[in-house]
């Protein structure tokens, strides 16, 4: 009993000192389980960000339902200045159109966009398809299959939009993540996949086109979709910070300045280099209009491809 009592006293002491200094703990909600791709970026971002703000912060993983559970937790904390969400593209710009959610693009105070990576149209390196025309020709002979990391995700939307606009004949097979989809691509169960540079570099893949306005540095010989004679298409995997509605403008500026400083720090830059996350800062207003624009564009794609009526 004695050691137990001692440790209890210690705990109470530690607790008292702990709560004294942690008056203001900033809670950063990550809508995925710990250790996922988004979580890793958030966990590298968080220490530098809280240092800039001069507060203690803690990451809370609140996963489920395509990241919408965590996101709606942020939306419903209206007026709480000590909670922000590190959000992926899908939860902000796709899911509100697909599901009946408690939030929409207007439910947040937008702080900043942190990273953005354009998506590439890719096939396996072991296939004989070298460019987009060959892909179309092959799909005319026998319809192809394209994978995605789940229904209603960006990889699905990007290829679905392409199928709608071109002569590409392909149907969709959803997997439970990029990893299993890559396994299927390696085993030739599917032939096409759209994803970011990270995936492209990590696996034996050949890029055929990029879903962006201009060619990407390091991939100068990969054409954009509009150069293929198709309407312009832009799909990128991005992340950003949002706060609930009803926080003060002062707080919002504090956040976005800390965000910018974090993204410019050498520590985050070297992490982004390793993780192949493209730093792409957008301020509060630009980020807000960006999200709303993407929301409408994705909704249009969903309608055009019959995923939404």
């Amino acid at each position: 009993m004695k050691p137990m009592r001692h440790s209890l006293a210690l705990m109470v002491l530690a607790g008292a000192s702990h709560t004294a200094q942690a008056q203001e703990t900033l809670e950063i909600i990550v809508p995925f389980a710990a250790g996922g791709a988004t979580d890793i970026v958030a966990r590298s971002f968080e220490p530098i960000f809280s240092e800039q703000l001069g507060v203690t912060s803690v990451i809370r993983n609140l996963a489920g339902a395509s990241a919408t559970v965590g996101t709606s937790e942020v939306a419903k904390s209206e007026g709480n200045p000590n909670i922000i969400g590190y959000e992926p593209a899908g939860a902000l710009s796709i899911q509100p159109s697909l599901k009946d959610l408690s939030y929409g693009p207007d439910s947040f105070t937008y702080i900043c966009r942190t990273t953005s990576n354009p998506m590439f149209l890719m096939v396996s390196k072991s296939s004989d398809i070298e460019d987009f025309d060959q892909l179309i020709a092959a799909s005319q002979e026998q319809p192809l299959l394209y994978g995605s990391s789940g229904p209603g995700t960006l990889p699905q939307l990007a290829v679905a939009a392409l199928v709608g606009e071109s002569d590409l004949e392909a149907s969709h097979i959803p997997y439970s993540g990029s990893g299993p989809a890559m396994n299927a691509l390696a085993g030739n169960e599917i032939q096409i996949m759209a994803d970011t540079e990270t995936i492209l570099e990590n696996y034996d893949l050949r890029p055929l086109a990029v879903f962006a306005h201009h060619r990407i540095e390091g991939y100068e010989d990969v054409p954009t979709i509009s150069e293929l004679g198709l309407p312009e298409m832009e799909f990128s995997v991005w992340q950003g910070l949002v706060a609930p509605k009803g926080i003060s403008d002062e707080r919002k500026t504090q956040y976005s300045e800390a965000c910018q400083a974090t993204l410019e720090s050498d520590r985050f830059k070297s992490f982004a280099e390793n993780a192949k996350a493209g730093i792409a800062y957008l301020g509060p207003d630009e980020f807000e209009s960006f999200v709303k624009e993407r929301f409408e564009a994705n909704k249009q794609v969903l309608r055009d491809t019959g995923l939404l009526d």
């Binding site: 389980a33 710990a34 250790g35 996922g36 791709a37 979580d39 890793i40 966990r43 590298s44 220490p47 809370r60 993983n61 609140l62 996963a63 489920g64 339902a65 395509s66 919408t68 559970v69 965590g70 709606s72 697909l98 599901k99 009946d100 959610l101 408690s102 299959l145 789940g150 229904p151 209603g152 149907s171 969709h172 097979i173 959803p174 997997y175 439970s176 993540g177 990893g179 299993p180 890559m182 396994n183 299927a184 390696a186 085993g187 169960e189 570099e201 990590n202 696996y203 034996d204 992490f271 390793n274 993780a275 192949k276």
Partner: protein
């Protein structure tokens, strides 16, 4: 050769060794506490690795991972409550052995089988990673479907007393995994308009409810019964002759675990069930399985620990995480500047070899630390039963609350616990419920993907590839064998009964 020596040097720094000892020990304890498993363990230790160098950080995490998979077996054997879902199959024979007073033997076999499985899978990882990865790629949706069907057969095996009751529990587990968004179309299923349910039910709260909380209710019902006290935990390693006698079981379990681990999307819990079902068909002592036969513990523990090594095969060779746990490890690698993927072995061979060495040391550390860890559990379980039960309630709640941060999961755990108690009292086996929930999602999504690929032609599954044909024939064989053996058993028992009757009438 230089590179291997350099890698060994990297792994034998004092920081790395300290990290291995701390990580493995913490892993064993965390794994042993019901509700807290590999994922919680890794979440706890992930932030500590940020300030460490690559090998030290990875050593800590690998230690936690391997330790937690082993640790789950301790409580599975001692109090019939698997510390992690991966050890659910260990209860089948582990707890009966405890009830027979063979607790030291049971823990000894679990420890030794864990060590054996871990080391053998390391060896396989080192020598056959590229070949196995290439072979695993051939397992597309249809092959995985066939494999999971085969694995589902173990529901029959683990519900000896009543196959019907086992079957219905399996279906309940399968159903629970289907609540929420459909994996193929994204449509909500069985949510009845509730947003909270649309994120579905996860495994940890259900396992916590079905095993830990229902066990508390069971013990509560018999709390004044002196025989229901938790027995003293001790550890007795099997003697050389004993383990030599069962070496085939050890090797088979380890090989099954190594192979299942190399397939993306399965994991240690599935491996343990598949291995147990195989042992039920092939072990020379199969008639005793389920009644306290060490072969059952060996089948479960050697295979789930073999997954720890081989789950790195798709991660290191293809950059594809084998399960949630390896996905977390991959994330940690990225933080430390290791980018998993096809070129990892070429670009960072020294780091990869150092990780192999770390894996082997971790398994040795696990063997050495098993004694003090079990000692700690012995000390804990010597406290008043109330403290132990209250602590299990708290750990179950914490585990359920942290698995994805959703308070609904606590309600799921409590409701499952109450229902599971009712089912247990009425003689329903609960393991099939977990099997259904573990294997169900993969069975369904592989079937649905296969149907999409084959344009709805289910018969096309059987002739899809050599692997699928082989697996489906094995499945047919398995079914025929099961029906045949239960028929002969039934005939024998009714013949015996008739003889007994005629004897009695004489």
């Amino acid at each position: 050769m230089d590179i291997i020596l350099a890698a060994v040097g990297d792994a034998f720094t004092w920081q790395a060794l300290l990290a291995i000892v701390v990580g493995t020990w913490a892993g064993i304890i965390i794994g042993g506490l019901p509700g807290l498993g590999s994922v919680v363990g890794l979440t706890i230790f992930l932030p500590f690795t940020f300030g460490m160098d690559t090998i030290t950080g990875m050593a800590l995490l690998i230690g936690v991972y391997c330790g937690s998979v082993y640790g789950g077996s301790i409580t599975a054997i001692l109090i019939n409550t698997p510390g992690t879902p991966q050890s659910a199959a260990t209860t089948f024979d582990g707890y009966p052995m405890t009830q027979q007073g063979r607790i030291g033997e049971a823990l000894g076999w679990a420890t030794f089988a864990s060590f054996f499985g871990g080391v053998l899978s390391c060896v396989i990882l080192i020598f056959c990673a590229p070949q196995l990865a290439k072979f695993a790629v051939n397992f597309g949706s249809i092959e995985v479907f066939a494999l999971i069907c085969l694995a589902m057969m173990c529901i029959v095996g683990v519900s000896k007393d009543s196959i019907m009751k086992g079957l219905v529990c399996g279906m309940i587990g399968f159903f629970l995994s289907m609540v929420g968004a459909d994996p193929i179309t994204g449509a909500n299923r069985f949510t009845f308009g509730s947003y909270a349910l649309s994120s579905g039910l996860t495994l940890i709260p259900v396992v916590v409810g079905a095993f830990a909380l229902s066990e508390i209710f069971m013990r509560f019902a018999s709390r004044d019964d002196p025989g229901a006290k938790i027995p003293e935990a001790k550890l007795r390693f099997p003697r050389l002759g004993e383990w030599f006698k069962r070496v085939i079981e050890l090797v088979r379990g380890s090989l099954i675990g190594s192979f299942i681990g190399a397939l993306p999307g399965t994991g240690a819990a599935a491996a343990a069930f598949i291995s147990y079902a195989t042992a039920q068909k092939l072990s020379p002592r199969r008639e005793h399985m389920g009644q306290g036969e060490p072969d059952g513990i060996i089948a479960s523990e050697s295979s789930n620990n073999a997954v720890t090594g081989s789950s790195f095969i798709p991660t290191l060779a293809l950059g594809i995480p084998g399960d949630v746990v390896t996905a977390m490890m991959m994330g940690a690698m990225v933080i430390h500047g290791i980018t998993p993927g096809v070129r990892l072995m070429v670009d960072q061979a020294q780091t990869v070899y150092a990780l192999f060495v770390v894996l082997i040391i971790v398994n040795v550390a696990m063997l050495i630390l098993s004694k003090p860890s079990i000692g700690l559990f012995r000390y804990l379980f010597r406290l008043h039963q109330g403290y132990v039960m209250a602590a299990i309630v708290m750990f179950s709640f914490i585990g359920a609350a942290t698995v994805r941060g959703n308070p609904l999961d606590l309600v799921v755990a409590a409701v499952t616990g109450i229902l599971a108690y009712a089912l247990r009292r009425a003689g329903y086996p609960l393991a099939p419920l977990v099997i259904g929930m573990v294997l169900g999602p993969e069975l369904e999504s592989s079937l649905r993907r296969g149907l999409l690929i084959k344009n709805g032609d289910f018969l096309g599954f059987f002739t899809h590839s050599g692997i699928s044909m082989a697996l489906f024939s094995l499945l047919a064989l398995f079914i025929v064998w099961t029906v045949w053996s239960s028929l002969t058993q039934w005939r024998q028992s009714s013949a015996n009964a008739r003889r007994a009757e005629s004897d009695a009438s004489k």
